[in-house]
Amino acid sequence: MTFQKKYIFAAAAILFGALAPFIINPYELSLLGRFLALSILAMGIMLTWGEAGILSLGQGVFFGLGGYALAMHLKLEGLNLANGDMPDFMVWSGVSALPGFWYPFANPYFSLACVVIVPGAFAAAFSWLVFRRRVGGVYFALITQALALAFSTLLISQQAYTGGFNGLTDYSTMFGIDITTEYAARYIYWITFLFVVAVYFFLRWLLASRYGVMLRATRDGENRVRFLGHDPVPYKVVAFGIAGALAGIGGALFTLHAGVVSPALVGVVPSIEMVVWVAVGGRNILWGAIAGTLLVNFAKDQISSAFPSLWLYGLGALFILAVSFLPAGIAGLFRPGSGEERVMRRILSRRKLSTAE
């Protein structure tokens, strides 16, 4: 792809994204909005997995934290708390009074701050605890998977406080505005789209900065970074924290689009599915993460409604094929000089193995 072509494609994509509500029908718009929300999370995975070499199989946890933080507010909106009102599911579970930790979420600004801060801070703290003892790689992936399992079972079992298996659903207003109308759906879409564009350019800037260079250096030779006198831990923790915050934002926007957040979206299987979006799209290329998310999810939507069992075979095959034969993803095919790139990568990965031994 030549230099100019690249900009024409980018401009066309942004133009289509901005005008989508006028081009496609409301159902397709709702899907596109959801998947764009997911692609914010996917860009976070690209940052940690592709650029920092940290594979997380628990991004669903941070997605869930963001989604639940917003959903808790949406459940409280319109209730008269002073009067002892409670969300419907708590009444059904026989809870006598609203639990204390729910109260602050009645404030929309507190909720919106939590959407970013809670998953971001939790991700940073969690990863710091692991990375500071130089535990990483496969171990980290397995620990994050255990985290996803623990989080989803906890959500399911604490029915009275979290809505259990059904999650939190059935909201109507935010800031006093009805969010269920088609008109509101457009605005939610535009907000999502703005976030996608903003996050894209933020990460582009971040990865081009000195921080990005250090992050890639940490990925390619963590010990060499140490020998040169740098501590790699803060770089990795910041990357994981940003990815957590992005997952939280994606989760909140997804909740707005889908009208539901539930443990089924945050457990082990959905968490690892998130990685495959990035694997298919291209783990080292930012637009690949977005393209992969849209592609895999639209394919899932089409295939799983027609042939439910076929989808799981397809997803399994996608995992195997994408990492075996297309490690740079679809975006890697468009990269200039991708042939040489691939040969270099192969040599490097071989060498890495022999030094590791």
Binding site: R133, A150, L154, G316
Partner: protein, 302 residues
């Protein structure tokens, strides 16, 4: 029920859960020591063992069917595991994280295949009558303690398997090769050890043991397409706690996790126990990031 009997019952439960973890994690730990890769489809080897037990009991009913099912499951899961190593894992072993994802794909395919063949609800394997008893203690300070035969059976099987693997690793030539490759692959290869074949053999052995564990799982509950998933995450944690490819480490780590889970469940429910287990693991690696058993090595990157 007597307080001490209840506590001892939980400890016994912990040991029997731990012995399942040992059988499930052994193959993971051994292959991880050799190749630094984790097979995410390992849980499906448990499932495969369970279904093989079910099918064997269809053909060989009667009290001794379960004893026939165990070697069948061992060999069956071993063959599937060997093929998986040859077809997927060996190709990707230079990239451990990608191996993780590819084998997860294999696990999805195997689960769905089981769902299509046997249905999503699961099949029952009835324990033979000689395993239907419960050892009950009626007198003394342990009165009220019940020890189901199946749980005792699990302990015995795990002990035998552990003993056999330890003998294999420490007393045979194959075991010598395995230890050699584990310590220093290039040097072992230079001395004429076929490291490639050792990888394959250990992997097949490990999945075979997982298949065997699947037979035992089938005695405890229905075999479903996702039966392996509930045991595999604790097994991964066992690998993390155990240290690199160490048999002793894996055993100790299994006991720690089994006993921790069983004892904590006295006080909190299962889901909170899971969270506490994770907290425990994270605290543990703050103290011993290399796991319970540290293999002395001069390598910089473990």
């Amino acid at each position: 029920m007597h307080e001490s009997a209840f506590l001892l019952g939980q400890v016994f439960n912990g040991f029997s859960v731990a012995s399942l973890f040992i059988l499930a994690a052994l193959g993971l730990a051994l292959s991880f020591g050799l190749m630094r890769v984790i097979n995410m489809a390992h849980g499906e080897m448990l499932m495969l063992g369970g279904y093989l037990a079910y099918m064997t009991l269809q053909i060989v009913p009667g009290p001794l069917g379960i004893l026939v099912a165990m070697p069948v499951a061992f060999v069956g899961a071993g063959i599937v595991g060997g093929f998986l190593e040859f077809a997927v894992i060996h190709r990707l072993s230079a990239r451990p994280l990608d191996t993780l994802l590819a084998t997860w794909g294999v696990s999805l395919v195997l689960q769905q295949a089981a769902r299509n063949m046997f249905g999503a609800i699961g099949v029952e394997v009835t324990a033979p009558t000689w395993l239907n008893h419960t050892v009950s203690i009626h007198s003394g300070f342990l009165s009220g303690l019940d020890l189901p035969d199946t749980r005792i059976f699990i302990l015995i099987v795990a002990a035998i398997v552990l003993g056999l693997i330890a003998a294999l690793l420490n007393k045979t030539r194959l075991g010598l090769y395995v230890r050699a490759v584990n310590q220093d692959r290039p040097t072992a290869a230079a001395m004429g050890v076929n490291a490639r074949l050792i990888d394959l053999a250990v992997f097949a052995l490990g999945t075979g043991v997982a298949g065997l564990a699947g037979v035992i799982l089938a005695l405890l509950g229905p075999v479903t397409p996702t039966v392996g998933q509930s045991y595999i995450v604790p097994a991964f944690l066992v690998v993390i706690l155990g240290g690199l490819g160490s048999l002793v480490g894996t055993t100790i780590a299994s006991l720690i996790i089994g006993l921790f889970t069983a004892l904590i469940e006295i006080f909190v429910d299962v889901s909170v126990a899971q969270v506490l287990l994770l907290v425990f693991v994270i605290l543990f690696i703050q103290i011993r990031p290399q796991g319970v058993i540290t293999v002395r090595t001069r390598a910089l990157e473990g």
